[in-house]
Symmetry: C2
Subunit: 136 residues, 2 copies
């Protein structure tokens, strides 16, 4: 009848380490669960859902403070999509500059293949990059 499970089981269900769960509890992101006779943590479905939400959000790059805010908003039906939008913009910027860098590297590699005697000047090219595309 009991649907309770241990911290190890929860950690597997959410794909994170046991220590991380205890850490989330310590900083108040996860609620304090029930305890067994001997003092071990006992969780149920709600904990698992919450933890999965936290972990997935972390994977998407939200900070713990973002997540705290998201969780708070979800409790009062505010609109949480502004955070997602903000995050999306940051991701897009990063993609843009990585793409520029990749193209730059392609150019370098090609130059190397043409047998330019000597080195490719990785540092110069990469440090110049900021000046020519400069969107930081």
């Amino acid at each position: 009848m009991s649907t309770l499970f241990s911290i190890g089981t929860l950690s597997k269900a959410a794909g994170c380490k046991v220590e991380t769960i205890r850490y989330y509890e310590k900083i108040g992101l996860m609620p304090e669960p029930a305890r067994s006779e001997g003092g071990q943590r006992r969780y149920h479905r709600k904990h698992r859902e919450r933890l999965r939400f936290i972990r997935h959000s972390r994977e998407l790059g939200f900070t713990l403070d973002d997540i705290r805010e998201l969780l708070a908003m979800s409790e009062q039906h505010g609109h949480a999509d502004s955070i997602a939008r903000r995050h999306r913009a940051a991701v897009q910027n990063r993609i843009r500059s990585l793409t520029a860098l990749r193209d730059e590297l392609d150019r370098m590699i090609e130059e190397c293949e043409q047998g330019h005697e000597g080195e490719c000047r990785v540092i110069e090219v990469l440090s110049d990059h900021q000046e020519c595309s400069g969107d930081h």
Copy 2:
């Protein structure tokens, strides 16, 4: 005639904090510069280039250890193109996962908009995701 400049000038030229430069020096990522009579750091162009390279690479998500390796290998002549190639592969990977992330955020935002009565489902989307698409 002197092309030397202070740590504050360097920090502005590279877009980072003064403390960060001293930190890089401490961990051996930036070389110890010359000093003024009174003991203040005096840099020149080469330092600026190197620091810009480091900062730009950091912005793109490379670790200081990655950067250390890149810098070290770029100093041994001849191997530069293999570094570039390896680096390119890493950049491509990062682009791939960021693109996936962006698409997912788009999906989230869109689903948010569909719940037009101010009802945002970001939270549901985030906690459900792992179960339905689960590729982490």
